[in-house]
Symmetry: C3
Subunit: 133 residues, 3 copies
């Protein structure tokens, strides 16, 4: 099946953007009933993760605590001032896979899929691919 590109505009330097509905729409449009969806972020200062979809304070706490452990301003060599974003990208990770069954993402009740912006605001892409199996 074809790869789809999801376009995202972030609005802050650090931001967790819920993309669950867009991934669900991809699964429906692809007609995928049983399989796995691969989500991939083609950027080195962003990532993708799964976390709580209910209380927005969780998003705040994740961003705030990552910033306190990996601050933007530290003794880095890289001259662009975004080494913290590169480190967060590798810690959270650029890809995810989610199981699909009976045409639906097999997520837990409280799970949402989040694009993680660590060096915004920017225009970003997310690649999505289905494996029927």
């Amino acid at each position: 099946m074809k790869v789809e590109t999801l376009q995202i505009n972030s609005h802050r330097r650090e931001e967790l953007i819920n993309i669950t509905a867009a991934i669900e729409k991809f699964v429906r449009n692809a007609g995928l009933r049983e399989g796995v969806v691969i989500i991939f972020v083609p950027h080195t200062t962003a990532a993708v993760t799964i976390n709580e979809n209910a209380d927005p304070d969780v998003k705040h706490d994740i961003i705030h605590k990552l910033n306190s452990e990996f601050p933007q301003d530290d003794s880095y060599l890289h001259g662009e001032g975004n080494s913290d974003a590169h480190i967060k990208s590798s810690l959270i990770g650029a890809s995810l896979q989610i199981i699909v069954t009976e045409g639906k993402l097999l997520l837990g009740t409280w799970q949402g899929i989040y694009f993680c912006e660590f060096d915004g605001p920017r225009s970003r892409n997310v690649y999505i691919k289905a494996i029927a199996c």
Copy 2:
């Protein structure tokens, strides 16, 4: 192939539970000879990882160091007192894939698969799915 659910009971707030034998059993029962196994944790305060299967001190050191960097008691907004568990979940990750060849998980000698409890004790699930390829 069908998705299988593995049920786990954790007994402490933080705990690494070796699920390697259960994943091996899934591969045998599924009759998977060549392919990939997807392991997915449908919880936002738990995760799944691969680490040393020999010295239990490694499990202790991972939990202890994560707690010292991401303590339960910190300046969090989320009112449930488990923001540290949400952060650890995103850092370690909710999913893994392991290659299967000749009917066996292609793990290194010292590798075991661990369910990571960060907000127990609780009753938890792990989803497992095979991709034959």
Copy 3:
């Protein structure tokens, strides 16, 4: 398709080694046009990640900051003196998946694939497997 083993020799205790060209070669040799490549590290003190392929200072900053947050010398129980490497391995992760389309890895412009050595120098392996889909 068969699993391929890539052999790597690391030369320092911590080192990020660019393996993008080797993964691209695997895709060509496998004749994979559309699908997903699974990359798996069978070691518990190493990992695999995607990060910037241009300025080598980014590699330096990732290693340096991980060492400052997770130093080799800390209050660990594990007697081999490499608990920090086990922790980094679980944080960065032992596996990755990358989408392949029209016979090419679907990476972003600035993305390279890095084997992460955290307890070298050693002789290491990376497993690679293709899923055509």
